[in-house]
């Protein structure tokens, strides 16, 4: 193992220790605060843990978490596909961009709640309306991020591709998409964090399952421990997505950005 690898491993280990230490301090502070308040509004971490286990054993947690994740995945895929295609196109077509720009500003400034409510009114309380409303909330952000990416494409690489007669798909795969990678990464990160929050509102307002529905249910029962249990479970899943999927993917696609030799 090289010295550089050993140093990098030590640095990663130290960073992980700091993260775990920081979380431990958070749980400790929470425990102290819960003990001091001593009422149902802030249950202790151990009480929340017990609620989490109860929901897990009954199968409720898995089911509702699964439904929410499915909605997040569907809305994310729709928003990224449509938003990226429109964003790249607008970045390359100044006239279309000038025409579409006011629409984008309009969509960006409509509150998420309004889109959700109108979607349920117009299309009914169904899955398509729910997922569509979430996707519609995210699409303008993806469009704007990818539009900036397409505007910043290096024309020198395009000329190289032109001279060497690259076909459309070869150019897209080897020249265009790698340049857009940081913009895709930014849209993905902000997309997932925004989408899962909106999905909970959609579930709260018009679905009969999912984490949002359960939070609404336990809100009516004033069961703060179970509300926190669902919240923590969902955050846990999102952290796994971040560390097990997004970060390794980001690292892999950015591996060429090594230090200069």
């Amino acid at each position: 193992m090289s010295v550089a690898t050993q140093t990098a491993n030590r640095s990663r280990f130290a960073s992980a220790c700091m993260s775990i230490g920081s979380l431990c301090v958070f749980v400790l502070l929470w425990s102290v605060l819960a003990r001091w308040l001593d009422d149902n509004t802030l249950p202790a971490p151990s009480v929340v843990w017990n609620s989490l286990q109860v929901e897990w054993r009954s199968g409720e947690l898995t089911y509702h978490l699964g439904m929410t994740l499915l909605r997040v995945a569907a809305a994310f895929l729709i928003a990224m596909s449509i938003g990226s295609a429109i964003g790249i196109w607008l970045g390359m077509q100044p006239l279309a961009n000038r025409i579409a720009d006011p629409w984008l500003i309009l969509l960006l400034n409509i509150p998420a709640l309004v889109i959700i409510v109108l979607s349920y009114i117009w299309f009914g309380l169904n899955e398509a309306a729910a997922v569509g409303a979430v996707a519609l909330n995210k699409i303008p952000n993806v469009v704007i991020t990818l539009r900036e990416g397409a505007r910043s494409l290096n024309p020198e690489y395009s000329e190289m591709a032109e001279v060497y007669r690259f076909g459309f798909f070869k150019r897209l795969r080897h020249v265009v998409l790698p340049q857009l990678q940081p913009f895709f990464a930014a849209a993905t990160r902000s997309g997932i964090s925004l989408i899962w929050k909106i999905v909970l509102i959609v579930e709260l307002l018009g679905r009969s399952n999912g984490v949002g529905f359960q939070i609404h249910l336990y809100f009516q029962l004033f069961d703060v421990a179970t509300i926190l249990a669902y919240t923590l479970a969902f955050i846990g899943v999102m952290l796994v997505v971040e560390y097990a999927v997004l970060q390794p993917l980001d690292k892999r696609t950015s591996r060429w950005r090594v230090s200069h030799g």
Partner: protein, 237 residues
């Protein structure tokens, strides 16, 4: 024109400026490149040399006249900047320009000649400018092009590196004869490499002189190269 690889017969190229002004970049130009010749274009900065190369490469089509590639076959280019894709290794950059059926062709000999054997898996940002230029040359020669366009490919290199690359370029050209058209500001570079020099005047680009160099590149010693460079310099003035 049976032995020509490229025929240039251009009436002019102008650019519209803000405010309605027109900038003439290239004037009337008529010349051809003999097949397997090494032609250098020299001329003052901003006289339209690069614009002409872009027209030949098909990157600029807004001109009057015609540019005819006589032989079918690939056209390759090495630009002032290497223009290697930074997210692909040296080898991937070179293989990328090959048609699919040749994608797995051995590149050992080409990398050997260019001294890139140990850098195949390097990314461009790990290479010096000289090595990146070699990789750009490898990408151009791997296609076995019918026409190779070089736009000041050795500019801003130190003299020793530039000399090494001149030698490598000539070696590749002898091993794989192709028609080369190169723009340079350096008269001594033209004296080392070219068998024909086209001298351009001030903008808009127009041919003011043509110098044929009969002595093969391999037989030119330092004194002869100096003499040729002075001839070119005199014709520029």
């Amino acid at each position: 024109m049976a032995d020509s690889a490229l025929v240039v017969d251009v009436q002019g190229r102008t650019f519209a400026l803000e405010g309605g002004d027109v900038l003439p970049a290239v004037g009337q130009l008529r010349f051809s490149l003999p097949a397997h010749s090494f032609t250098c274009i020299v001329g003052p900065s901003g006289c339209g040399k690069t614009t002409l190369l872009r027209m030949i490469l098909g990157l600029d089509t807004g001109f009057e006249g015609r540019i005819e590639h006589i032989h079918e076959g690939a056209v390759a280019a090495v630009f002032q900047e290497p223009r290697l894709l930074p997210w692909r290794t040296v080898e991937q950059n070179v293989r990328l320009v090959l048609p699919d059926q040749y994608r797995n062709e051995s590149l050992d000999e080409l990398f050997q000649v260019l001294g890139l054997q140990d850098m195949r898996s390097f990314y461009p940002n790990q290479l010096s400018l000289g090595l990146a230029r070699r990789a750009a040359l490898a990408r151009a020669f791997v296609l076995k092009p019918a026409l190779l366009i070089l736009d000041e490919p050795f500019v801003s290199l130190d003299k020793a590196t530039a000399q090494r690359l001149h030698t490598l370029l000539l070696k590749l050209w002898h091993a794989q004869p192709t028609t080369i058209l190169m723009v340079t500001h350096d008269m001594s570079e033209a004296a080392i490499l070219a068998d024909r020099v086209l001298v351009f005047g001030d903008r808009p680009a127009q041919l003011v002189n043509e110098i044929l160099i009969d002595t093969p590149q391999s037989r030119r010693d330092a004194l002869m190269q100096l003499d040729i460079a002075q001839r070119i310099q005199r014709s520029v003035v």
